[in-house]
Symmetry: C2
């Protein structure tokens, strides 16, 4: 209970450094050597805390996924009152989620991993990515149901909403223009909530 706060240790530094490198280069192309050099720890330290690259990747990708999911839920959850009008209306929360400013040119920290062969070939890592999208889709679907959509429509539109964001990242990176994501989101929102209060 006393030592619990002092955890800005080597292990944590390795994880945050790995998160940063994974986000910018992907998991496959990032070597353990790069991580230890960028974090300033020695060879032995990394392999003490994380015997293999897989172990480091699970820790770093897991942390990234938790952070991303937390951010999405902040957008999507109402005030819990259940009262229409008690918080922001459900459809507006979905609009808030898709329109949230994003670093479009960097790509989605999680979505990009679906093209990372080192991730998809590793059962443990792939499961972390799968769980992220399953939970994200469930949250968006629930919010759309709250907005009054029937189950099938809610499910399909939730998939479309998340896909527009993911595809927006792809378009922004491909064209080198972060407005490409904004255009995609605008096009979708105009259809989903034509009267959206902006």
């Amino acid at each position: 209970m006393v030592a619990a706060m002092v955890t800005t240790g080597t292990r944590e530094r390795l994880v945050t450094t790995a998160q940063r490198l994974f986000a910018s280069q992907g998991v496959g192309p990032t070597s353990p050597r790069q991580v230890l050099e960028a974090s300033g720890v020695g060879q032995g330290s990394l392999y003490h805390h994380f015997p293999t690259k897989h172990d480091l990747a699970v820790a770093a990708v897991g942390a990234t996924v938790e952070q991303a999911l937390t951010a999405a839920r902040r957008d999507l959850e109402g005030d819990g009152s259940g009262d229409p009008g008690g918080g922001v209306e459900a459809l507006d929360r979905v609009v808030a989620y898709v329109t949230r400013p994003r670093e479009a040119l960097a790509g989605c920290k999680v979505g990009r991993l679906t093209s990372d062969q080192a991730v998809m070939d590793d059962d443990g890592l792939r499961d972390v990515v799968t769980a992220y999208f399953v939970r994200l889709l469930a949250a968006v679907t629930a919010t759309l149901r709250e907005a009054g959509l029937p189950a099938d429509a809610a499910r399909d539109r939730a998939h479309a909403a998340v896909a527009v964001v993911q595809g927006g990242y792809v378009l922004a990176r491909a064209t080198g223009d972060e407005d490409a994501m904004r255009a995609a989101v605008r096009g979708f929102v105009a259809l989903l909530a034509p009267e959206a209060r902006r």
Copy 2:
């Protein structure tokens, strides 16, 4: 004029093999050695035709992009008559484009490259990817204008349409479920063309 047909040579075999490997593993993770072994040619042959991996990648990615663009245009172009009713209506052609059956679990052969650091760090390769999406977006935008949308709305909805397809690939790969792409597309089409003739 005589020799022009006999071109099922070593060079072409290398390109098609590279296309296949790039599509399944990405460009970065595919080694020249894998390409020459899979195509059955010798070390020297590959490096004779393509002095560097970059040269091989430009040829293979360029071919893939041309094929993808040709397929998209087949969906999007009318019969050229300009007559409403002379061919399939413009909005239906956009619906045809987004609903075309795709190997969702494999990911988009071009879109995946935006997460491939080896591609994005190479000016020549990145330009090929950029050109693909610029031309694809232009084609979808033009078709939506033909459908009667004003310029801004056509541009935004075209971005949304292409993003839904790209994001559909991401969702399908992430969840391991090819229906995820179909759900995203269905959700989008229900909004874009509620009365779509299916």
